[in-house]
């Protein structure tokens, strides 16, 4: 049988080829975990590409940041950490640090100083919210709305989200109590500096859920950052919350009829951690990458590709124009004074203490 022989021969060849190509090139490689999408692209262009050119290390991208905590726990239990550098939000970094899954960083030792000689510790300043966390960007969670669906009176306040009479239609909110609870209380008459005091109490949590209940029928709950842009482009929703960089991309790069509602935007931080349990060789490589990727120029470079503010004070003056569109990026930064008239800083301590409790209540409320 000719066919049989051909099958046999191809079997042998394929298996041999498969085995030969396996694991040939682990030596000079590192796996960097991030969020995927436009955000990973900006890191690729601003950090990875120049770093690979400079050192010859091959960088593999993994977009698993959304489950970073769970996966790192599993890797640690299995004794097989395959990630070298991980991009996480500050809250996750704090959890990982507490659990001993992230390495402690000494900023002055391990990070580059600013060009003018300011030490890294002073340059990052208050943004070093955890011993393991190397801040990269300041982003905000805020609302975007369809300009063609709001009539002649575009919303100016975050409370428009709760006003279904003036702005009928669906809204998209994150399937998560964080930010939603704060906005609900703000729009229920709680003063900004009392929000977390109120949210500490049972009644306060109920008050926030009650406020959210008034629009529950009009809410589409999102879980991935890409959902709200898609829903806005579809015209499925009149307004929705998401990360400001995603909205920038919808408005400026995709030219959709969408505008930003910066009111009560919630600032948050995103940055790197290095997992514990790496071999000395891999640890040295990860530290070398971090030193390179978080210097003043590199952080400013990232803002050419995405509208997130660099975490170093010394990078801010270097922010220039968008790499492809040529527009000035400063007015699109969440930290621009025009946009930051009314902002809210994510309260790490509060959510570290109350997250599990409020999460459970919120999910139970959602299921009702």
């Amino acid at each position: 049988m000719k066919l049989t022989k051909t099958l046999m021969a191809s079997t042998a060849l394929t298996v041999a080829a498969g085995m030969a190509t396996a694991d040939g090139h682990m030596a000079n490689e590192m796996t960097i975990v991030s969020w995927g999408g436009a955000y990973s692209n900006s890191q690729q262009k601003a950090y990875h590409d120049p770093y690979m050119e400079k050192t010859g290390v091959n960088i593999i991208n993994d977009s698993s940041s959304s489950e970073a905590v769970a996966k790192l726990r599993a890797m640690n239990e299995a004794g097989n950490v395959t990630w070298d550098v991980v991009d996480v939000v500050a809250a996750d970094a704090i959890r990982l640090c507490d659990e001993g899954l992230a390495m402690e960083i000494d900023p002055d030792e391990m990070l580059a100083a600013a060009p003018d000689g300011t030490s890294a510790e002073d340059d990052f300043g208050d943004l070093l919210v955890s011993d393991c966390f190397i801040p990269q960007i300041v982003y905000s969670t805020t609302f975007g709305y369809r300009t063609d669906m709001v009539g002649d009176t575009p919303p100016t306040s975050v409370c428009a989200v709760f006003d279904t009479e003036a702005y009928p239609g669906k809204r998209a909110l994150e399937k998560n109590p964080i930010n939603n609870m704060e906005w609900a209380l703000l729009c229920d008459g709680v003063a900004k500096d009392e929000v977390y005091d109120v949210l500490e109490t049972e009644e306060g949590q109920q008050q926030a859920l009650d406020k959210l209940a008034t629009i529950k029928d009009d809410v589409i709950w999102w879980s991935a950052g890409a959902d709200t842009p898609q829903l806005l482009a579809d015209g499925e929703i009149v307004m929705g919350s998401t990360y400001n960089g995603r909205l920038f991309s919808v408005i400026e790069e995709q030219n959709q009829p969408v505008a930003m509602l910066w009111d009560a935007q919630v600032f948050d931080l995103d940055g790197w951690i290095i997992p514990t349990g790496l071999s000395d060789e891999r640890k040295a490589r990860a530290l070398d990458y971090i030193m390179f990727a978080t210097d003043t120029q590199r952080l400013a470079d990232q803002a050419k590709y995405i509208s997130y503010g660099p975490a170093r004070a010394s990078s801010a003056p270097l922010v220039s124009t968008h790499a492809d569109l040529g527009i000035d990026m400063a007015p699109h930064m969440p930290t621009d004074p025009e946009n930051a008239k009314n902002t809210f800083l994510y309260n790490y301590e509060f959510w570290a203490d109350y997250r599990d409790d409020i999460d459970a209540k919120f999910q139970a409320w959602l299921a009702q």
Binding site: V15, G18, T31, G36, D62, T82, Q230, D234
Partner: protein, 392 residues
Amino acid sequence: MVALTPISRTPVSFYVPVVAAAGAFAGLLVGTAQGSSLLGIILGAALMAAVAYVLTQIIKEEKAGIWGLTALLAVAGFLMGGIAAALIGAAFGWFFGWFSFWLYEGRYRAKVAPYLTPRQVLWHFTFRVICGAILVFLITPILVVMPLSFNAEDFFTFTPEMLRFDPAGYSMKHYEDFFTNSDWQGALKNSIRIAPAATLLSVGFGTLAAIGLSQPHVPFRRAIMAILISPMIVPLIISAAGMYFFYSRIGLQGTYAGVVLAHAALGIPFVIITVTATLVGFDNSLTRAAANMGANPVTTFFRVQMPLILPGVISGGLFAFITSFDEVVVVLFVGSAGQKTLPWQMFTGLREQISPTILAVATILVIVSIALLTVVELLRRRSERLRGMSPS
């Protein structure tokens, strides 16, 4: 086909309500799209009842009636929503024109056996409509994806330009992205590398296991069979988590070999099942005859048994290949970013960035699958022809 039954015209009280019911259904579809299902149902029923009556009792000319209605609804559709709606309107118009006359003339009865009661005739057609609806529901989601993959924008949305059939609304940029983006190309390369290797392992082990398990003298055959088939029955996420911890400890996690082995384990049950099925029809006296003529077991296997069970082996192999090629859960656990396969890339792409490149890839995969199945079918027919067993 010859008419089985003499036909005669039907009364108004029969066909107008039937057309109205069909109109109500069409109205439901259009009405839901426009935002009011109930209004759609009522309007659809009323309009189509009137149409059926006017066509058959006043116009009476079948051809003119059908094409007139087609043109009329096409124009109405165009006024409501541009070219795409005009096409839908024309299709509706032609259908309802034809449907009215088909019922009115009694032609629906022509090809059905004459002794059927009205209820049996009704079931005869209902059955066909249900079958058609199943096919439509299976295939529409796949078809919808295809035009969307030519979207000029980065969203899963039919833009107004696309609905107007404006060339500016379409572009090949998502296909370009797939062929130039290193993420997608890397994923494609990994899939092409992993799936065939896993398939060959599953086919090899699966065929041997099936042959062994079909020997009557093997002890605990059923228990062994159950264990080998268990990857198909145990929830995938359980297998995946188990494999993750096991492979991590023995250093296979995050390697090509690990992913290939994991996928082979998933593919083996398919091969065992299909090969066992073909072995049922295999005559064991053939192997004894071969042995009698001096062939050793290996020669017997390749020259006698293998050619006869080849159809089962090939279809099992196809299933194993598709399992590996489509698999996303196990590879997420057992693989690391270096072994990112196409389904993995599509999965993260869908979660992090809803990009029509996923749709372009889906379209390409659908076309490749159709081509692959066609080739296999042609090869099968050819080999049957060569062996003188032409398919009847």
